[in-house]
Subunit: 343 residues, 2 copies
C-alpha cells in the first residue's frame, strides 16, 4: 500500500495568555507513513482513535526552563496526552493487532511505540465507546475517583461543593458524593451545564457567571468538602464558607492557568481558625493505591447508566487547537475528546 | 485583714489596627477584695502569679458578631488567657491552699473560680520557674509539640522552615526538628533573635527584615516541612520553595492579624502541582491525643537544658497593654509573660 498522510498537531509557540488556535499549535499534514512497511524495531504500530483534551495541557505550554509536575511541550514536536488506539502491527509480544490500548500518545494519526510500558489493553467488556476511556473511564474519571478516595474522608451529613461540575472530573465527583448520600452543591459556567449537573444529582447547581459562589455557599453551606478545579475567587468563597475541619481537595486551578495577575485570595487565615486540611494531588501518584479499585467500580456503573457522563467530540486532529482553547474558556459541552479516526 | 487592691486589665475598645496600650485596654485598680472573707461558694480563691501573652489574643479583640475559633473579648470585662496561680483558700476538694494551678484566668490579681474544670495542679518536680508553664511548658510549647507530632510526618533528610523561630512555639519546633536530625532553616525579626535561633540549633537562621525569605529558601531548600506562624509573603515564599509532597503546618498568620489589606499570595497553584498538604490546627483539639505525651517528654528536657527557651517578662498587670502590642509587633525578646505577683 502506498504511504498515507500522518497528520500531526505540533506545538508551535509558547502562548502568553490563552492559547491561540492559529499560532500556539499547527496542524501539519506533511508527514506520511507506509503502514505496511514502517519499521517496528521491536515495537508496535498504533492507529490512534481518540485523544483527550484536558486543562492541565495549558501548564505544559510553558518555557521548558520552568519546572513543574508535568514536562513542558517542546516546540516543533507533537502535543501528547492520553488516548486510545488500535494496534495495526506488532513486534512486541505484549500486544497483537486489533488490541485497543489506553496510553499516552503523540497528537498524530499513526504512531510506532517502542516500549509497552505505560500502555494497557482495554478489554471493554461493556462495549462502551472508546471515547469514554479518555473521559469518565480515563484520566479525568480516575482523577475524581482517586482524589475522592484518598482525600475526601466523607462523613454522614457532609456538604460537598464541586466546581467545574459538568466536566469529566467534577461530574464524577458529584456522583461519587451522591452515592454516599451527601448533599452536593456544584457550579458550572452555562445554563446547559447547570442542567446537566442537576440531572446527575446535585442538590444545588448554579451558573457561577450569573450567581456569586459565596452567596450560594453562605445560603447552602457551610461546606465540609471542597473539590477545587478553579482556584481564585471561588477558592476564597470556599474558605469563607468552610466548616471547621473541612477538607479541600486541590485538583486544579484553571482560573490561574492562562496568565494575568492571579486573583488575590484574602482570607487564607481561615486555614488556621477552621483547622482546614488542604491537599493537592496528581492522579499518577495515586494509581498504585487506587487504580484496581477504579476499574472494578466505575466501568460497570457507567455501562449500567448509574454513572452518567457527557462528551463533546471534535472530529479530526485539525480541530485540536480550537478544542484546547474551548476547554480553557469553558466553551466545551462535556468531556472534550478528539475523534482522530473511526476504526 | 483589710481588703486589698484587685487590679484588672479590662478590654476597653475594639482596635482597628494594632492595639493601642492607652485605649484598647485599661488597667483598672478600683476593685478591692477581702482575701480572708471573699465568699467561695464551693469554689477556690487563687492569687495569680503569671499570665501568658500570645498573638492569638489579637483575634479575640474583635466585634463579637464575627465568629471565630476563640470567643471575642467582651468590652468592659477583663482579658483572659493561660496562666499559673496559687490557691489561697479552697472550698473545692480538688484543690488545697498552696496548690499551683495551670488554667485559663482573667487578667486580674485575685480570682475566685467556681469550677475545677480546666484547671490542673502543676507538680513541677523539676522546680522550674512558674513562667515556664505558660511558655515552653504551656500552651505555646504544647502547640509546637502537638502540631509537630500530628502534622509534620518528618522523613530522614527533610528540610524544615520555621517562622517566628525565636518565639516559644517556633523555638520548640526548631528543637523538635533538630532532635530528629533534620536540617532547619528559621527566621525572626531581629539580630538578637537570630542569635538565639542559631544557639538552639538552626542550621540556617536569618532576619526576615534584612533578607528575603525566598532568597534564603531558594538557596537552602527546597523545603519539606513549613511551620507557618506568619502567612502572607512568607507563605508565598514557602509555596515557591516547597518540595513535592511538602507539609505546611498552619499554626498562625500574624501578618494578617492587625488589619490592612492582606498580602496577595500569588502562587497557590503550587498546592496542586507540588501535591502539598496544608493543615490548620488549634492546639486545644489535639490535647486528648498528645498532652500526656507532652508532659512525659518536654518538662524533663527543659529541666536538663536539652531544650532551651527564652522569656521576656513584664512586671505587673499594668504592663499588659504594652506587652500585647510588643508581641504583635515582634518587639518581645522571648516568650512574653506578665509576672503578676511573686509568691
Amino acid at each position: 500500500m502506498a504511504p498515507v498522510r500522518n497528520g500531526r498537531v505540533l506545538f508551535n509557540e509558547i502562548p502568553t495568555g490563552y492559547p491561540d488556535p492559529s499560532r500556539t499549535t499547527v496542524y501539519d499534514q506533511s508527514q506520511t507513513i507506509d503502514l505496511d512497511n514502517e519499521p517496528l524495531e521491536g515495537g508496535f504500530l498504533v492507529k490512534i482513535l481518540v485523544l483527550s483534551i484536558d486543562p492541565y495541557m495549558r501548564g505544559r505550554m510553558r518555557d521548558p526552563s520552568i519546572e513543574s509536575y508535568s514536562p513542558a511541550y517542546p516546540t516543533g514536536q507533537p502535543l501528547n496526552n492520553y488516548g486510545v488506539g488500535v494496534v495495526l502491527r506488532s513486534a512486541n509480544p505484549s500486544f497483537k493487532p486489533g488490541d485497543h490500548l489506553y496510553g499516552f500518545y503523540p497528537f498524530q494519526e499513526y504512531f510506532v511505540a517502542k516500549d509497552a510500558k505505560g500502555f494497557s489493553v482495554l478489554e471493554n467488556k461493556e462495549k462502551l465507546p472508546w471515547s469514554a476511556y479518555v473521559g469518565v473511564l480515563g484520566m479525568p474519571g480516575q482523577t475524581a475517583h482517586h482524589g475522592w478516595k484518598e482525600l475526601a474522608h466523607p462523613k454522614k451529613g457532609d456538604v460537598v461543593f464541586v466546581t467545574s461540575g459538568a466536566g469529566p472530573v467534577g461530574a464524577t465527583v458529584i456522583q461519587l458524593a451522591k452515592a454516599e448520600g451527601l448533599k452536593v452543591i456544584a457550579s458550572a459556567g452555562s445554563e446547559d451545564k447547570v442542567d446537566f449537573i442537576r440531572s446527575i444529582g446535585a442538590d444545588v447547581a448554579f451558573n457561577y457567571k450569573m450567581t456569586k459562589a459565596l452567596d450560594v455557599l453562605q445560603k447552602n453551606g457551610p461546606i465540609n468538602i471542597y473539590w477545587d478545579n478553579v482556584g481564585g475567587e471561588t477558592l476564597e468563597a470556599a474558605l469563607e464558607a468552610a466548616a471547621v475541619g473541612a477538607r479541600f481537595i486541590e485538583c486544579g486551578m484553571i482560573s490561574t492557568y492562562n496568565g494575568g495577575e492571579p486573583y488575590c485570595v484574602k482570607n487564607l487565615v481561615n486555614i488556621v481558625g477552621k483547622q482546614l486540611r488542604i491537599s493537592g494531588f496528581i492522579v499518577d501518584n495515586l494509581h498504585e493505591k487506587w487504580l484496581a479499585d477504579f476499574y472494578k467500580e466505575i466501568p460497570p456503573k457507567v455501562a449500567s447508566g448509574e454513572f452518567k457522563h457527557k462528551e463533546d467530540i471534535s472530529k479530526g486532529l485539525g480541530s485540536a487547537g480550537q478544542a484546547i482553547l474551548d476547554v480553557l474558556t469553558g466553551k466545551n459541552k462535556g468531556k472534550k475528546v478528539i475523534l482522530v479516526a473511526e476504526e
